[in-house]
Every structure is written in structure tokens, then in C-alpha cells.
């Protein structure tokens, strides 16, 4: 949370269109290192799309997006932009963990194999070392006894915790959470939020798209309310959630709180 260090993520006028539909209409924001940054808003407001732009799963059409001071997806030489090669994009993605709404665990691998996959295949870590690390991570998310289970043998909450462990295995400097609890039964949400809270306390920089206002209020350092592809309101979660300034924010919060 040191203000002097450069922002972990910096967006300047980010635009994104799918065909004729403009989903992001100029997003400006900064996420500081070590911060838990929450994105809220109605569905279709562009918050998930913005998250996917950060690790270049989506290409932006205009504006600039920086992660840790480096441009996402492009290299700037003079006033010209050069698209990065696939291998260069992949290299940058190593440092950005992502957790999906639908978990997206690899169904043909056990929990521990899911976690070992990227360190072994991408970083060239030995299988033994990767397995040891994977077991530690499984312990950390409270699933030490589920190492040999396939995803289909795990509950949604357990799958999501394995997915978090899988992302952590790459030692990311930034974690992106795309509605990590939206596909879960209400009683399983708590376990996943506990793991995320624990992660936040360890100092991880996290950008969380969420509908869990309680989590945003307790754990979040900053909060942004998005609607219609623009940032409507931002500030400290407690201020925005309890004393929203804009009408749109007020009406959204009155429906979800």
C-alpha cells in the first residue's frame, strides 16, 4: 500500500468493443500494489471484460493499459505500437493469476495435477518440487485430503479453492477474480471468501469482480462501481457502499444490499 511505488495496474481511457457493441467506454483507474480492489456493477456493465483485458484475454481497442509499469499486449517504440508475439504475451500472463466464475479446472487431471501443470509445463519446475508445492497450497486452501480427487468429485466450493491454488502455484504478483463465488451454493461461498481473505492479508494485489458486498466492505481497500462501460463512482468501499453519491449507484445498491 505504499503510494510511492508505481501502480500495479493503470488504465487510461480503455475502450473495448465487440463488433458494433462498445462494452468499455473509457476506463481510467489505478490499482496500487498490495491492494484489494473490488469491481461491482450490474451484469453487462463491462467489469468482467475489463478484468479479461488485464491479462490480454481480450484485446483493447483504444487507450492504454499497464501492468506493473509495462504495456499490456503491446510494445511501444517511439510513437508506434507493436503487437506482442503469443510467446511474449504468455510470458507476461505467468505473473497474473486468474480465477474464473466457472472454475475451469482441467477435468482430466486430479486436484494436485491441476496445480502442478503450469509450474511443470511453463516454468520447467521438476515434478517432485511442483507436487510438494501443490500439496502445500492445497493445505493452505484447506483441501490437503483432496489431492487425488478429480474435479468432478469435488463440490463447487472445493473446485474454486483448487482453482485459486492453481493460480497461486505460478507465484503471481497480481490475482484477478472474475465473480469467483457467483456459481456457488450460498453455503459454499464462505469457504472461498475465507481463502481470499487469507490471501488479502498476506499482501497479494487482488482485483475482484464480485457481488459479495460484505466481502468488499470488510476486505476491500478500494471499490469501483461500473455501469454501461464507464466508472460511475469510486472510493473506499465503506464510503461508497454506505454513502453513494450517484443516483445510479444508489439504485444498484438498494437492490443488492
Amino acid at each position: 500500500m505504499t503510494q510511492s511505488s508505481p501502480a500495479m495496474v493503470k488504465a487510461e481511457g480503455v475502450h473495448k468493443s465487440f463488433g458494433q457493441v462498445e462494452v468499455l467506454k473509457g476506463i481510467d483507474l489505478e490499482v496500487q500494489s498490495g491492494e484489494v480492489f473490488c469491481l461491482i456493477g450490474p451484469s453487462g456493465s463491462g467489469k468482467s471484460t475489463f478484468l479479461r483485458c488485464i491479462n490480454h484475454l481480450e484485446k483493447i481497442n483504444a487507450g492504454r493499459l499497464y501492468v506493473d509499469g509495462e504495456l499490456v499486449g503491446y510494445r511501444q517504440k517511439g510513437d508506434k505500437l507493436y503487437e506482442l508475439k503469443d510467446s511474449e504475451v504468455a510470458l507476461k500472463r505467468r505473473d497474473i493469476g486468474m480465477v474464473f466464475q466457472r472454475f475451469n479446472l482441467f477435468p482430466h487431471m486430479t486436484a494436485v495435477e491441476n496445480i502442478m501443470e503450469a509450474p511443470v509445463q511453463v516454468k520447467g519446475v521438476s515434478k517432485a518440487a511442483a507436487r510438494e508445492r501443490a500439496m502445500q497450497l492445497l493445505e493452505r486452501v484447506g483441501l490437503g485430503d483432496k489431492a487425488g480427487n478429480y474435479p468432478s468429485q469435488l463440490s463447487g466450493g472445493q473446485q474454486q479453492r483448487v482453482a485459486i491454488a492453481r493460480a497461486l502455484a505460478m507465484d503471481p504478483k497480481l490475482m484477478l477474480f472474475d465473480e469467483p463465488t457467483s456459481a456457488l451454493d450460498p453455503e459454499l461461498v464462505g469457504d472461498v471468501l475465507d481463502v481470499m481473505r487469507d490471501l488479502a492479508e498476506s499482501g497479494m494485489t487482488m482485483i475482484v469482480v464480485t457481488h459479495e458486498m460484505g466481502f468488499a466492505r470488510e476486505v476491500g481497500d478500494s471499490l469501483v462501481f461500473m455501469d454501461g462501460g464507464v466508472v460511475v463512482e469510486s472510493g473506499h468501499p465503506r464510503e461508497v457502499l454506505t454513502d453513494p453519491q450517484h443516483e445510479r449507484t444508489k439504485s444498484f445498491l438498494s437492490k443488492v444490499l
Binding site: M98, F100, N104, L105, V122
Partner: protein, 312 residues
């Protein structure tokens, strides 16, 4: 209530105390007896007709393990395996080409599939055999040079004809398999920093296999039978050998039956192999795999805890 549940062992066990067990007279299905009798009578009539026909059944065991027949069986298997190898390799290549973003490669793949799927394989075989009219020589510079007619042996003709035709079908099967894998899998893999190639090889293809294997098994069995067409270009596979023996020994029909029996044996063995391969790729998709027939047999024969529970 829980006390009784722990003692029962599935349906058919004693009902919970307090409720009276149902002893109803089952519904009669007289139609089933009638249809069974009709079917048996028809089957009997067919068997009788064949037994009474002018067929020298004794010739079949006499030639069953004849050296020429065994050669034919071997050649059929060889042709099946090699053609399928060409077919699968070509099919994967064509599937990736069709899904490629490059419009030229995807169009070429589309054209290939259109051509080879749209013409009969027998016609293709004859075309390969007689391509000497187009290419008089085959000339690979200093490596190889010969007349087309002497280069195109029956085996090579058969391999090219069957393999290239098969590639068109396998391409569609592989493409369906690759498309069946959820896009979230590719995204998750990319988000972890894995390259396109690694994503394809480690994440997408293993999952696509579950969709690809069953129809490929059918293709193998189909291929085994389609190899009989190759007798048209004088390749000595099973059907060709059986025909030869039939003409020389004066019992052609008997040899057709013999060939049919050998084809049945080989396709049956392939079906068993297919079962186990499908099982391998189903891992992770089912919570627990069903037991194999062997495991079922073992648990039925050997006294296990479960068997004891049933008999008690």
C-alpha cells in the same frame, strides 16, 4: 428408521419394520411370449435353410488355418493399421488446418474433405492405380526415380487409397472433438501462461479424445471391412485370398463364409480393445468408473463382502 437402513442392501431386501411388504401379482405380457416364439421360428427356418443348402460346410474348417488365409489375415490387419495411421495423422492435420485462422489453409482442408468424402473409395483406388497416365515417372531427384506403374505396388495403392480417404472422415471427427472442449479450458490454460501448442497438447486434445475415440473405434472396424475392396487392385488381403482359394478348390461360397468368420473374429477383438481405450479417456468425467466385465466376473465368482451381503 436408520437402524433398518444399515441392514438392508439395496432393493429386494427386507422392508423396513412396520410397513407391510408388497406382494402383488405382476402384469402378464402374453405378447412377449408370442413375439419370442415368432422370432425363434424365423431364426430356426433360416438356420435350417442354410444347413440344407448346397454348401459344403466341411470345406470351411479345412481351409480355416490355411497358410494363404493366414497371410490374408495378416495383410488385412497390416493394411488396417497402416491406413488408420495415415488417416488419423492426416485427420488431425486437416482438423487443425480447418480450425486455423488462415483462410488459405482452412479452404484447402475444406476442399480436401469435400473431394475425398464425396467420391467412392473404390473409384479412388482405381484412380491411384492408374495415375500413370498423368505422371509417367515418379521423380524424387537423386533419391528415387521410376515408372509410376512399378512404383505403385498394390500395397501402396491400397494404403494411399484407404488412408487418404480415411483422413477426410477422421478430420471431421477430430474437428468435432476439438470443438467439444469448453472454451474456458483454453482460457484457463492461457491465463496460466501456457502457449497455444502446450494448451492444445496438454489440455484440449486429452479432453477431445473422449469425443474422438468412440467414432474412431467405429472407423477402425469400418476400415477393417473396407480393406476387402482392395482386392480390386490385386492386393492379397483376406478377401482376395479367400476368393483365390474358392476359385481353385471349387467351393467359392464356402470361402466367402470363411472370410466372413475371420472378419467377425477380428472386429470382435477390436471392439474389446475399443472398450478399454474409451474407459481410459473417460477418467475424470465420471465420479467412479463402472467395473470392467472382468472385474464384474471376478466379483461374481470370488466371495467378496458384497456377495456375502446379497446371499445373507
Amino acid at each position: 428408521m436408520t437402524v433398518d437402513v444399515s441392514k438392508t442392501d439395496g432393493p429386494g431386501a427386507t422392508p423396513p419394520a412396520g410397513a407391510e411388504a408388497i406382494k402383488a401379482i405382476p402384469v402378464r405380457h402374453p405378447g412377449r411370449y408370442v413375439s419370442a416364439a415368432v422370432a425363434l421360428a424365423l431364426l430356426g427356418a433360416v438356420v435350417y435353410a442354410f444347413a440344407q443348402g448346397k454348401i459344403n460346410w466341411g470345406a470351411i474348417p479345412e481351409y480355416f488355418f490355411d497358410g494363404r488365409i493366414l497371410d490374408g489375415v495378416w495383410n488385412t490387419l497390416l493394411l488396417t493399421v497402416l491406413s488408420m495411421v495415415i488417416g488419423i495423422a492426416g485427420g488431425i492435420l486437416l482438423a487443425v488446418m480447418r480450425l486455423s485462422k488462415n483462410p488459405v489453409t482452412s479452404s484447402i482442408a475444406w476442399f480436401y474433405i469435400w473431394f475425398f468424402r464425396g467420391t467412392p473409395v473404390l473409384v479412388q483406388l482405381f484412380v491411384w492405380f492408374n495415375l500413370g497416365l498423368v505422371f509417367e515417372y515418379i521423380n524424387l531427384g537423386p533419391v528415387y526415380k521410376d515408372y509410376w506403374s512399378s512404383f505403385m505396388t498394390p500395397l501402396l495403392t491400397a494404403l494411399l487409397g484407404l488412408g487418404l480417404n480415411e483422413a477426410a472422415y477422421m478430420a471431421e471427427i477430430c474437428r468435432a472433438g476439438l470443438l467439444s472442449v469448453d472454451e474456458g479450458q483454453t482460457e484457463a490454460s492461457h491465463a496460466l501462461g501456457m502457449s497455444h501448442t502446450k494448451t492444445l497438447r496438454r489440455i484440449v486434445v486429452p479432453q477431445a479424445m473422449r469425443v474422438i475415440v468412440p467414432p474412431t473405434g467405429n472407423e477402425v472396424i469400418n476400415m477393417l471391412k473396407t480393406t476387402s475392396l482392395v482386392s480390386a487392385v490385386q492386393f492379397a488381403e483376406l478377401f482376395q485370398q479367400a476368393k483365390d482359394i474358392g476359385q481353385n478348390s471349387g467351393s467359392p461360397v464356402e470361402m466367402y463364409f470363411l472370410a466372413a468368420a475371420w472378419y467377425l473374429i477380428m472386429t470382435s477383438i477390436l471392439s474389446i480393445g475399443q472398450y478399454y481405450i474409451e474407459r481410459h479417456y473417460a477418467r475424470g468425467s465420471l465420479r467412479s468408473l463402472p467395473p470392467t466385465p472382468m472385474q464384474r466376473l471376478k466379483s461374481a465368482v470370488l466371495p467378496t463382502r458384497r456377495a456375502k451381503g446379497v446371499t445373507a
